[in-house]
């Protein structure tokens, strides 16, 4: 025998289920008055610096049907590329920008929509710049462990070409699954980012 590490195992994930909204967005689900607002749903404060954008899309299952019960969380840097939260030691991020948002997809159409700002450049662990990106985390009925992916922007061609994460995708035909397309304006620049869980044009998901 050798010495034990005395490490614990991470608690196993389980699906968020179809009623995740009760816990995560109770006001949206019709349980009003417990919390003043749904966490992660508040609009951007007017003081936030950076270019206002909207991000929208749908999540499709392996049959091409949009999912109508998913919950999406996003996490991103501020306009200067600083994260407004724990673990950021390079400087003080925009104090008015939360960096984290949470929205259910629409129960009828499956469409989600976030209004945020375009994030700045964040360095990879070796110091090279990563192209502007937004981290997505998706949970739903039928998803046993939350899926991580990233949204990149189609109008950041040069930065995307130099991005160390995108560069690691062996099957180059899959790279466009991570690139949101700007689609005119819906009052503000809007990027469409559809997510395919399985099959044709399956989105790249990460083990982070």
């Amino acid at each position: 025998m050798v010495q034990s590490f005395r490490r614990l195992k991470e608690s196993a994930s389980q699906t968020a289920g179809p009623y995740v909204h009760i816990g995560a967005t109770p006001n949206f689900s019709g349980i009003e008055g417990v919390y003043p607002y749904d966490l992660g749903s508040q609009p951007l404060a007017p003081e936030v610096t950076g270019e206002r954008i909207a991000v929208t899309g749908r999540i499709f299952d392996g049959s091409g049907t949009p999912i109508k019960d998913a919950l999406i969380e996003i996490w991103q840097a501020d306009a200067q590329g600083l994260y407004p939260g724990q673990g950021e030691r390079r400087g003080e991020a925009d104090p008015h920008f939360p960096g984290w948002f949470r929205q259910p997809v629409d129960g009828m159409t499956g469409v989600y929509r976030f209004e945020t700002i375009k994030p700045g450049i964040v360095p990879y662990f070796d110091g090279r710049p990563m192209a502007p990106h937004i981290t997505f985390w998706i949970v739903a009925r039928g998803i046993n462990i939350g899926l991580h992916t990233r949204l990149y922007f189609d109008d950041e061609e040069a930065a995307n070409a130099a991005d160390p994460i995108l560069a690691r995708i062996e099957h180059r035909v899959r790279v466009p699954t991570l690139i949101a397309t700007h689609s005119g304006s819906d009052g503000m620049p809007t990027y469409t980012f559809n997510i395919n869980l399985q099959g044709e044009n399956e989105t790249v998901f990460f083990d982070i």
């Binding site: 349980i31 994260y83 939260g85 981290t135 039928g142 995708i169």
Partner: protein
């Protein structure tokens, strides 16, 4: 920075053991069949985007947020077995995770969720909403008071029933630690018949999701107690990590 374990700042997270977690494709849980990626996940060493995470302050909590007996009460208290659920949020090195936001949601005593898409014929309880949240203290501890949820049928197999369970959503210190899971109750025979539970490959991993009846925390003539610890990913110390400035 606030809420961080000073001894473990900055390091990347231990790789997630995906043979311990349920895989994406668990066909006995039918919805997973079309919602599971077919391609392999792309392994991504932690970057700042994964090693950082949002901060939630105690000031966002209302006084009844962790009391499901009172936070939706309209005409009285909800019906059902009164229980306390408590435990610690730890990392894989058994260090407390302080300042972690823990959210929970559940059905009522009859197994009925308060949700517009739920049509189970068991009655809604007018005094039970079914959601709560709290933030762990300096020792990583959390607790809340609620009604023990009932099992409920679901359209998977023709006669499938979920064991009694409470859903948990946990935010650690970084987005890499984000976790949603379910807590089950000691002694429930339904646990071992549930396709969602049995998607977890090992019996040992399932047992870690089963809360033990806690006689010592039970309040006499008042409330039973269950203890449920949650483990989030651990992280390396920075001793031998030679990372560039900026990460």
């Amino acid at each position: 920075m606030r809420n961080e374990n000073s001894s473990h700042q900055g390091g990347s997270f231990y790789q997630r053991d995906r043979s311990w977690h349920p895989p994406a494709f668990t066909p006995d849980y039918k919805t997973s069949v079309l919602r599971s990626p077919k391609y392999a996940l792309l392994s991504l060493g932690n970057t700042l985007s994964e090693m950082t995470g949002p901060v939630f302050g105690h000031n966002m909590l209302g006084p009844l947020d962790n009391d499901l007996l009172l936070n939706y009460a309209q005409t009285g208290e909800p019906i059902g077995p009164r229980i306390i659920v408590h435990g610690q949020v730890l990392d894989e090195d058994a260090r407390p995770v302080r300042g972690a936001l823990v959210e929970f949601w559940q059905a009522n005593a009859g197994g009925r969720y308060r949700h517009k898409k739920e049509s189970y014929l068991a009655a809604i309880d007018p005094n039970f909403g079914g959601c709560g949240r709290t933030i762990t203290d300096d020792e990583g501890r959390y607790w809340f008071r609620t009604i023990k949820p009932g099992p409920y049928p679901w359209p998977n197999g023709v006669n499938d029933w979920r064991p009694a369970h409470i859903h948990f959503s946990v935010f650690g210190h970084a987005f890499a630690q984000r976790l949603i899971t379910q807590m089950y109750f000691e002694g429930d025979p339904m646990i071992w018949q549930c396709p969602i539970v049995m998607g977890i490959p090992s019996r040992e991993a399932v047992e870690r999701l089963v809360a033990a009846l806690d006689r010592e925390a039970t309040l006499p003539m008042d409330t039973m107690a269950y203890k449920f610890d949650i483990v989030l990913r651990g992280r390396r110390s920075t001793l031998f990590e030679n990372r560039m400035e900026g990460n």
